[in-house]
Symmetry: C2
Subunit: 235 residues, 2 copies
């Protein structure tokens, strides 16, 4: 039996396609839709009790985020994570978060930076106490705060919208490394100091190094499949 798709309560206007998009994302996150799984519009439509129209639209949007691969008349599939894909994703992330951090150094207000520093400290305190599970969420929040500090909605959308889903997908396959956490805190702290000093150059290079180190271990455990070998996988 399919779960009803009323996650939050839409007051009165439910654009079905949006709800379905959210549910499909959820299924990809928790693994009910695994890598390479085929996407059948008709099946999903019946599962949700709706027509194929909204499903079609949701799938197209997932294709836009590159969470689903599809060619004109063929079955759509959940994207297969490869080492190549991870490398490309993280190179792009480094580029965007680096520049975002540089811009944030110029544009965040003093208050924003101080708030960021304070909450960073609070988070460290909480982590030292007990709640380890929340740390990854908090860590992303740190990055998001800085990205938004760039005052560039296009970069914000790219990082916190589209790429966020893919990053989350890749992270799902990697175990958290505990000792990485305290190192990450130190790096975060350094970045905030650079922001405070309004040193965009330094802030950018620190953020790049941080992202590189944070994502480093994700590369190792993935199958080494390139685009051409992926073609033969369909056979």
């Amino acid at each position: 039996m399919p779960a009803a798709l009323d996650s939050p309560q839409e007051a009165k206007s439910p654009p079905l396609a949006d709800a379905i998009l959210g549910e499909l994302l959820q299924r990809i996150y928790d693994g009910r839709l695994a890598q390479g799984d085929p996407i059948n519009e008709a099946v999903i439509a019946e599962e949700f009790g709706v027509s194929r129209g909204p499903v079609r639209e949701a799938v197209r949007r997932l294709q836009g985020i590159q969470l689903i691969t599809r060619e004109p008349y063929l079955k759509a599939r959940v994207v297969t994570l490869t080492q190549e894909g991870a490398r490309e994703l993280f190179e792009m992330r480094m580029a965007l978060e680096g520049v975002a951090c540089r811009l944030a150094a110029q544009r965040m207000t003093e208050d924003e930076i101080n708030d960021l520093l304070r909450e960073l400290e609070q988070d460290r305190q909480r982590t030292l106490a007990g709640k380890n599970t929340k740390s990854t969420t908090k860590a992303f929040d740190f990055h998001e705060r800085i990205v938004r500090g760039s005052r560039n909605s296009r970069i914000v959308d790219a990082l916190c919208g589209d790429m966020y889903h893919l990053l989350r997908m890749y992270r799902r396959r990697s175990s958290a490394v505990p000792e990485r956490k305290s190192q990450a805190y130190a790096e975060h702290w350094q970045i905030v100091r650079a922001l405070r000093a309004r040193d965009g150059e330094l802030a950018e290079s620190l953020m790049r190094a941080h992202v590189l180190r944070a994502d480093e271990h994700l590369f190792t455990s993935l199958p080494l499949i390139t685009s051409d070998t992926a073609a033969q996988r369909r056979a």
Copy 2:
């Protein structure tokens, strides 16, 4: 077979939505669809002699590229170009092309770099002769070659796919500055030298400076509209 590819020719299988997307893009390019023009699915559908389905899909994809703004039940509109939007677009372009250029310095083959240098010289010769109109096309080709040299298909897609359309839209509003051309050639030549020296750091910073200078004059002639003043524009 020479690479003579005309855009509006569907070979054997016509995915209607793709054709419509292309035509809408064309209309935006040549101004038949101007900034802020409303997009009526039904009208466009009848105009093309198709149903609303494909039109709907094409419009959604334009929305994904951010060439069209739309909220759930409201009329869709061609995006209105603002100074703010241009700034954000070019900041993102600088970030991506910069990193792409750094990666290209590491990853392009000697042959690729030599070819690039040779064609760059050829282009300059042709420009000195007569054909000025082709120069902008060639200029973009130079950038595209380097971007592809990054061996990062995600960045390539972002720059040559989505952002290309928007850049083209902004460029439409600006007159070409002739003396800029020879300066651009000098900058291009410097970049190729950095690639040849495999100096990624230098290549990135040169590319950033080049993009910044190339886009600089586009900022000036645009209306200074922010997101909140855009809201009152709808009234």
